[in-house]
Point group: C2
Chain length 491, copies 2
């Protein structure tokens, strides 16, 4: 680990890329835009998935699985939907290869051309609503509360590991309801689920809000989102929940008969989070030494490193560690005892630091003799000499403290980087020099939004749901504004 | 449920298709060859996945994720591999749609043609070994023990729900080893994991064996398999584990330096099971009334149906059920109390029967007065009046008994349908009239295998690993045979 890595303060982007490799989370594959999620990265994603999945089930949802391929004509049925996705989709045109006549390998068999091209799903509203059409006749068939864990493909030209990749993993909830109110309540409920997950597991504070019309999901009447602030002050959209109105029901002719025998189109929502959350997690907490993980999402919560010269020392330490191991496991704490003889303690320390293991315990013969161990926390790098007696409780409390303290640190950083701005001149200066989130008045028009973006690269991240409404005048045009919105540069 | 369904004895194939719909497991989508796995079917698959995943982790494997797309040239690097998969693969040729000039919708943008076509993975050996090349330098980097849960696509012309679909879900393990022996031990270990899962969770007896050379995985030196017998006597390959030798290491130039400093190619295995197991599960246990599930894989293990006329009755029953519910949940038993007022008890009984819920409890006011409940088991349809006192233990034992008894019933059926045959005339008669597995001598040649297939449609399912070796003469050619192999018609 003698290699020199980029610091956040010098080159944030390079720091991020190097960190993803250094912590062994993921790497670029040879397939343009597609990543390989390595075992350690995938273990974190699995923890995220399992926690979210349990929350979806608690709120009444079931998982199901729909086809990877979407007939081209389906995509076109919802007008704004196709506009949003047609320009970046992978198209399957043939279903067979054959040997090249010149013996140079295999080529596409021109005789195996599909009658209708298939799109690799960029999102599944169309293929799912085409199924719902057959599932829904009456109000008794509603609501349908389904989620899918899947891979999706959006052909991105500029990719970054986790943050923007052509293929990514995600979950997409797709629900069908008898009333507008019920669908809105569902979209809002799932926003709460995402916010709870972001704050209480990822230790990442988020602002809940609504997207401006131009930033809405293609096919939605309203897009709810959670927005987080990264350490460079830029915003990252961490999850979205869409109220789709009756748009997809109309596109796929999905009607139901209500209790009074009247027919109406079905109301819809969809909501999703993706492996992008991995990028958000990394950029919220990590430092120049590597990844910092909140204990709730750490595949290894405690790494124990023995420090020894003789086999006798190691045996004595191992015996003591086995005891601690058992006590921690009972508490549901995941532990790795690293007695790999090929690597030196210093190498191991650096390795667990790079991988963001929240707590490291080191034990040498002297610690053993004194009935103590050295406990180091990853986030603050503080070390303490802790008595073996009750060390399991000490570690349990420490993990809780780290979880809380990571959230508080991130919330404090965000507080320090949210600024109210009233004039456009000041806005341009602040966004250039300070970054962060800017609370400013906006006249509600797309023209103003676009002007701000063209001038400063900042976009409206959201119209916040939980801030006091304050009327004012648009910082650009002076026209009336119903309340401040959040502007920021974004990932 | 007044509808009349096909019986197994009349039309096994129709019975299967209807059952998949009746139990609400899956349906055909409008996308050729792709299925929709519905929530109830997916819940069973989730149980399978979670159990298998835990077993993979116990045996030292980690999950990871590799790209969906494989560059065409990668597929060609291993000669027999490309022969095996080129004829049935989905090919991505373009990455963008555009609006048709005549306003008729969207069309493929000819300017967005990929330089090299991408294949939607039919299996991931090539893309994974292309990564392993960068991960492996020395013996210290070995073994690599990775599994992936993913969707794969093989363009099948004749599809059947779960059994043969263009897209299916599966897991694929891909391991890399320093020695031939270690790789063989890994392939054999995973075969044991699959056999254990099939027998102890699916309650489905399997024969462990080796595939004949012509039935091997494309690119394998040896394919291990588990073969199960369906109720129509046909065989179903339920899982395979491949010893890949150094074939993929050579194709992708993956070498390592051993402890002595010598370079050698890396040894490989791959192993997988898929949603095909759902088909095997259905066809092993189900009957003319619907699905029969082993308790270990049942999303709902106990359905409780109240029988009542007044709200007062229902309230009293609900109170009693809540108590039972709590006791069962403590035991880890999943319960559904179905107090849906819209449906009659008879309808519910038929519904849970069709869905294969192992145990049904019915409670009416008289049962309540007598301190009893009616407990019915799905597999044998036996009903008992059981005292409330200790009913939770009764149900727990009953679930275990059902699990065991389903396995025993299937094992008995298989025993009755395995026959030793010595002459080819008898073979032809037995395979035509009785079906099942036939143990016969084979001379080890592909010609004989092909002749038998052409004459009878039966193939060699496997060379069994655990049967006493008995030398003999090939039933077709009279040439020497090292031991009997299993012939059967297969799914």
């Amino acid at each position: 680990m003698a290699q020199k890595f980029a610091k956040r303060s010098e080159d944030y982007s390079k720091w991020y890329n190097e960190l993803v490799y250094r912590a062994d989370l993921a790497e670029h594959s040879d397939v343009r835009g597609c990543m390989v999620i390595k075992p350690y990265g995938y273990a974190i994603w699995e923890k995220m998935r399992d926690i979210l999945d349990a929350k979806f089930k608690e709120t009444g949802h079931s998982n199901a699985y729909f086809p990877l391929f979407i007939p081209k004509s389906y995509l076109s049925k919802e007008a704004s939907h196709v506009d949003g996705f047609a320009k970046e989709c992978a198209v399957v045109t043939h279903y067979r290869l054959k040997n090249a006549e010149d013996g140079s390998g295999v080529v596409v068999d021109p005789e195996a051309k599909l009658e209708e091209e298939l799109i690799v799903r960029p999102t599944s509203e169309t293929i799912i609503w085409n199924s719902y059409k057959n599932w829904i006749q009456s109000y008794r068939d509603l609501p349908i509360l389904i989620n899918q864990w899947a891979n999706v493909v959006r052909w991105e030209m500029r990719t970054r590991l986790f943050l923007r990749t052509a293929e990514f993993l995600w979950q997409e909830g797709h629900t069908a309801h008898a009333t507008r109110q019920e669908a809105i309540a569902e979209a809002e409920q799932m926003l709460e689920v995402y916010a709870d997950f972001a704050e209480n597991y990822m230790a990442m504070p988020v602002v809940k809000g609504l997207k401006s019309p131009s930033e809405r999901f293609a096919g939605a009447d309203e897009t709810y989102c959670i927005e987080a602030m990264m350490q460079d002050g830029k915003a990252l959209q961490a999850g979205t929940s869409h109220f789709l109105g009756q748009n997809f029901a109309k596109a796929f002719d999905v009607k139901f008969t209500d209790k009074e025998g009247k027919q109406d189109f079905v109301w819809a929502t969809s909501w999703g989070v993706s492996t992008r959350l991995m990028g958000a997690l990394i950029m919220t907490h990590s430092d120049d030494e590597g990844l910092v993980l909140p204990p709730a999402l750490a595949p290894i919560q405690v790494a124990i490193v023995p420090i020894y010269k003789s086999q006798e020392d190691l045996d004595a330490i191992s015996l003591k560690v086995a005891e601690l191991n058992g006590k921690l496991r009972v508490k549901g704490i995941s532990v790795k005892f690293d007695d790999d003889d090929q690597k030196r303690p210093g190498w191991k320390f650096a390795e667990y630091e790079a991988k963001g293991v929240p707590v490291r315990v080191a034990i040498g013969p002297r610690d053993l003799a004194e009935g103590k161990a050295e406990v180091a926390r990853r986030d603050t790098k503080e070390k303490s000499s802790v008595s073996w007696d009750g060390i399991e409780d000490y570690i349990e409390n420490l993990l809780e403290e780290i979880q809380t303290s990571l959230f508080e640190r991130a919330a404090k950083f965000r507080e320090e980087n949210i600024r109210k701005v009233d004039s456009y001149d000041e806005f341009k200066k602040v966004i250039e020099q300070e970054g962060g989130f800017i609370l400013a008045h906006w006249d509600g028009t797309e023209e103003t939004e676009e002007k701000v973006k063209a001038d400063t690269q900042a976009t409206i991240r959201c119209i916040p749901l939980e801030m006091p409404k304050e009327e004012g005048k648009c910082m650009v045009t002076g026209k009336p504004s119903a309340g401040r919105v959040i502007f920021a540069k974004a990932y």
